[in-house]
């Protein structure tokens, strides 16, 4: 920590995001290789996801944390109904390490859509707690070992339907639906 703060004092001026992302990415890859976690890479413009196995996700998270990625920016999920998979992605970056601060790297896992279950990473990054609850209610992903896995934003009846899954049908309303007769007449 102290060392990181000392380094922070030496930094002047902002850098381009591509540079920061590159630094963060190579740091993350090194960290995963050092602990022997195999991973594949998905990347697009401005983002990079390191996809690991469900079994090694906790080890990968611990390695990333030790390498300086000290907090989770967001936890999100993507539903792939055709491939029968759900991808859960943890976006991590650093506050204290100026080398990689602001460079956001994703740590992703693919889960079977029928029974999505993975170990919770709250023991590694505390800031993941509420976001995991959100993924739990919107996608139905179970996080093993989460301290308080309850729906966060939705009422329980709605959370059971997992509204952000692709097969959730939004009921289209007509303009006057549900309007009492006395209001409709004006």
């Amino acid at each position: 920590m102290v060392e990181a703060r000392e380094r922070a004092e030496g930094v002047v001026g902002p850098r381009r995001y591509e540079e920061v992302l590159k630094a963060a990415r190579s740091r993350a890859e090194e960290a995963l290789r050092a602990v022997g976690v195999s991973f594949s890479i998905e990347e697009g413009k401005g983002f990079v996801d390191l996809v690991v196995d469900v079994d090694s996700v906790v080890r990968a998270a611990e390695a990333l944390k030790a390498a300086g990625f000290d907090h989770v920016v967001s936890v999100t999920a993507v539903d792939y109904p055709k491939r029968k998979q759900i991808k859960v992605a943890y976006h991590v970056t650093s506050y204290l390490d100026p080398e990689i601060a602001g460079g956001i790297v994703g740590l992703a896992v693919y889960l079977p859509r029928a029974s999505p279950e993975m170990p919770s990473l709250t023991s590694v990054w505390v800031s993941a707690e509420f976001m995991e609850r959100e993924v739990y209610e919107f996608f139905g992903v179970h996080f093993r070992g989460h301290p308080d896995l309850r729906p966060l934003l939705l009422v329980p009846e709605l959370a059971e339907k997992h509204p952000l899954r692709k097969d959730f049908v939004v009921r289209e309303e007509s303009i006057y639906e549900g309007v009492p007769e006395r209001v409709r007449r004006g």
């Binding site: 179970h142 709605l158 009921r171 309303e173």
Partner: protein, 200 residues
Amino acid sequence: MEEGRVYLGNLDVAAKRARDILLGKIKLEKVVDWANAFSLWPVHLTTSCCSTEFAATFGPRFDGEQFGALPWVGPRQTNLIVIEGTVTRKMACAVRVTWEQMPHPKFAIAMGACALDGGLFYNSYNVVRPWEVIPIDIYIPGCPPRPESVARAIVELQRRIRSRRVASSWIREGWRPDRDYVAPKEDYCSWQRTSSPVPL
């Protein structure tokens, strides 16, 4: 009470009225309406992003306090609730509980397109219309409405209270006549009883 007039508090007028009341020249009902119109204290219940404009209304630039409205924190000391934007299903319970804690007679303003009919979140699975939760007096369109619109709504509510004798008649009857049009509280607050954790 001609149209378009802004009703402002004035100490001289107030003193004159107080004298007239004491002498029995003015009906007490009228006094009640007059007093209610100039003490519309909105409770600051932030349901969504419209609240920034609501806060701006009572900031130094737009100075909503000149109309006799002062945002207050506790619902027990307020008589106006401004629904500030989208009301989600869980928040609907908070709105309803706050509404029930406010003393009678109480008024409600629905602010923003979301509070009218969903607005940006039309067709969403998690949004309720505030007029199903509590009875609404005034609607403000806009996304978000400007602070002037909020001030206009307050002035409009004052006009309505004074010209239709709303407050005094409600006090006489002991309840709002449109109180029964809203859905029962159970519809919005039943989720609170569900124990944790919920099996999915």
